[in-house]
């Protein structure tokens, strides 16, 4: 559109350079337009976050009648950090995030590189490939529960190529692999569409030069395509990772965190602590520990976007 080429919109960077332009008059009107949204967001996002912070320094069980929040300083944080289940779910979340995102990046990039043809059929095919991503996550979970059922389609396919059946929801390791597979099925399309756009935006000249010089396919990929795509790949990976570690819906439906705590993730841990055991202080402390990690990652994303944008502009 404006740029003619898909660019990584390093929004903070690009907007600030564009905004060197003069304001188009009427500052009060603009502020008035901004006010409702800002007030709404202060009330619905900033206030709850600060409320969580306050709660995280208190001991409070909702299910004990008459109990009021009691200040315990960092007590809740200590309790959470010492909780074996919290540690397990934090580790699970990290492994889940890294594993799924790595697989999604490799599959998505591979697919994007393989399907660079244009034309009606390919466009329709690409749209079909987006289905998993827009499907209601709870439905995705239910669907895969059926497919991974011990007498379901996946086990049938395994048996038909001579492999043993897998008890996906009984064996802790396979349960973990199972929830990862579902996430990969759901989100590889995301990497695919970002990478397709990024590939389409690559300049053609270096590739024609390489062709003239007789570079092999592997050389072209290794020394041209991959380095040029690396910034986008990094941003995509970070964005995906931040989403992956929030996983809740599919876990809730597929395994409920089980068997045991094999697929317990931070989101499901906080949910259970807060809304099943009504341990408000503990759940809030865990929330802020989780939040701290995500904020660090978010700053990383913004930084990577700015860099990718500069690389793209150069």
């Amino acid at each position: 559109m404006a740029t003619g080429a898909p660019t990584i919109a390093a929004s903070t960077a690009s907007t600030s350079t564009r905004r060197r332009r003069r304001t188009l008059g009427d500052l009060p009107t603009f502020l008035l337009c901004l006010l409702p949204a800002v007030v709404f967001l202060l009330l619905t996002s900033l206030y709850p976050l600060l409320y969580t912070l306050w709660l995280s320094f208190h001991d409070w069980f909702l299910n004990r009648p008459g109990m009021t929040p009691q200040f315990v300083g960092l007590g809740s944080y200590q309790a959470v950090l010492e909780d074996q289940v919290f540690r397990t779910s934090a580790l699970n979340t990290a492994v889940f995030g890294i594993g799924t995102v790595a697989a999604e990046l490799i599959l998505g990039l591979g697919l994007a590189l393989a399907v660079t043809q244009e034309g009606m059929g390919v466009r329709v095919a690409r749209s079909i490939l987006l289905i998993p991503m827009i499907m209601t996550p709870v439905v995705v979970g239910v669907l895969w529960r059926i497919l991974l059922f011990d007498k379901g389609l996946v086990n049938y396919l395994l048996e038909s190529v001579g492999l043993p059946r897998i008890l996906w929801f009984v064996d802790p390791r396979w349960a973990f692999v199972g929830v990862m597979l579902v996430d990969i099925w759901e989100w590889t399309p995301f990497v695919l569409i970002v990478m397709t756009a990024a590939i389409a935006a690559l300049p053609g000249e270096p590739f024609r030069a390489a062709q003239i010089d007789g570079a092999s396919r592997w050389q072209v990929f290794r020394y041209l395509t991959l380095p040029m795509l690396l910034p986008v790949l990094l941003v995509t990976g970070l964005l995906r990772f931040m989403d992956a570690i929030k996983v809740f819906d599919t876990i809730y439906v597929l395994t409920g965190g089980g068997p045991g705590y094999a697929t317990e993730m931070l989101s499901s841990y906080i949910y259970k602590q807060g809304l099943r055991y009504f341990n408000i202080g503990g759940a809030s402390a865990a929330s802020w520990l989780f939040l701290a990690v995500v904020v660090v990652l978010a700053i990383g994303v913004v930084w990577a976007r700015v860099r990718a944008n500069r690389a793209g502009a150069a």
Binding site: T15, L27, E118, L130, W185, F207
Partner: protein, 302 residues
Amino acid sequence: MATSIATPTTGPTRPAPTRRRKSRGRWSGLVWAALRWAILAVALAVVLVPFLWLVSTSFKHEVDYLAYPPRLLVDNWTLDGYRVLFSRNNLGHFFMNSVVVTLASTVLAVGLGSLAAYSLARARLPFRLNGILAFWMLLTRMYPAIATAIPYFLIIRDLKLLDTRWALIVTYTAFNLPFVVWLMIGFFEELPAELERAAMMDGCSAWQRFTRIVLPLSGPALVATAILSAILAWNEFLFAVMLTRIQAKTLPVVMAGFITDKGMLWDQMTALGVITVLPVLVFAIAVQRYLVRGLTLGAVKE
């Protein structure tokens, strides 16, 4: 977008790392082409088979959906799954919950969000507010929703709004607002500022420019943004399961309830799945052009 090799100067072209190369001979070219189509075919199968499985299971009898070996197509189709689902579960009510919550939160988010986005796109605010607000919106979009789950539950409980549609409308508006602002900033910045500058010379106020010039020009973008945030609201589960019990349940919550209550009623479960997913697919097709941009949070402009 220019993709033709003949006009290399008009714009970026697709890289042609595997385009026909005479030195390598036709065979290698053919093998690569075959490989590409094979990869595409496998990918399509991996996506489509599970999806079709969902649809076909919803039309199967119990004998068929529990049969081993499992089969995608059977001889006897039935509508029993849908019939029982509707007759026993008060589904119309829950469907309406989903519709009302989605519509109301979308209208609110797009209304408030596009106003704010216009200001952020066109005004130069004091105290570097543009950058600060933009970054704040991004953070709001990225932080894990679960981190606000506990206070949301407490606040909604104290307001006596648990298990009401209002609880979800407010929540979803809050989630979709930053999303709308982000998308709309991008769209508004693409509009030529000259038009508005000219209007300003003619004495149009910012409000007049917004309603008479900007809004009419960004109709498609607004619709696309609205549909994308509607999809997000429609699919939401965490807050729906947390803030509703019986009356205000949305379709995903009903769906999850099936797992715990009625383990093996696959025909009804998948029928509900089809009903839940169908509107999303229809809308997604309608905004296909903007889908990529919306789903990647403006990470890619097309």
